[in-house]
Assembly symmetry: C2
Homo-oligomer: 143 residues x 2
Amino acid sequence: MMNKLAFVLILAMGCVPVTFASPDTETSRTDDLVVRVAEIEVFPEWLDAYLAAARTVGAESVAKEPGVVCIFPMRQKENPCSIRIVEIYRDEAAYKAHLQTPHFRAYKEGTPHMIKSLKLVPMSPLDAEGMKLIFRKNTVERN
Amino acid sequence: MMNKLAFVLILAMGCVPVTFASPDTETSRTDDLVVRVAEIEVFPEWLDAYLAAARTVGAESVAKEPGVVCIFPMRQKENPCSIRIVEIYRDEAAYKAHLQTPHFRAYKEGTPHMIKSLKLVPMSPLDAEGMKLIFRKNTVERN
């Protein structure tokens, strides 16, 4: 069982630990994963406001949506206005559902004036083809 | 307890699930994390060989080095020779130790002719400053 502290901290990070289930039960789910990197340049004067909005939508998405496997936001040390967010959704349906959530819509409607450029780059995990395994949320703490 | 299957599958992915320990015990470890994105362009004729080498070094690093928190390799769907690897090390010492391991040295010595360009981009997790928490490996399976 995950304890409450671990859960809160995972939310703070915006990324839920993941692991895989038995390959015997389902064999095609990894192929369904939607993985992408959002490359976002933010106007310096809006940076703090944008970071707050990004943290909120990341944490809420991971907390409220079973289909959001991971949202891991980072920024470049040498260009702090350059944000990179690794996003992993369970499948295309989970991604489409995410776009309709109140927290994502609030982010999408509240941030356009903060963003200088935005590029969504579709990615493939390097081992997805070979794994043929389920990729699922796993949030157990172990000390 | 993590079972053997979960462990093997985590290795296959090259990324160990992570969670955080109590904020009461240690408060500064997150600041020590070394996070970066390796942006690698590979010559098309060497792509398969490079992917095999990258998978191997990712899996071995996560398996053998306690200081390697996560290595998550991806490639761009629209440019399959464009590789992006998110790497998270526990601290600078863990990163330096990684550079001396036999598996990393084999990768480093075996792949230069395959690589057209390589850029290592230092990153900060968006919430690192606010968390002040330990970021540690956690590999428990839960069904």
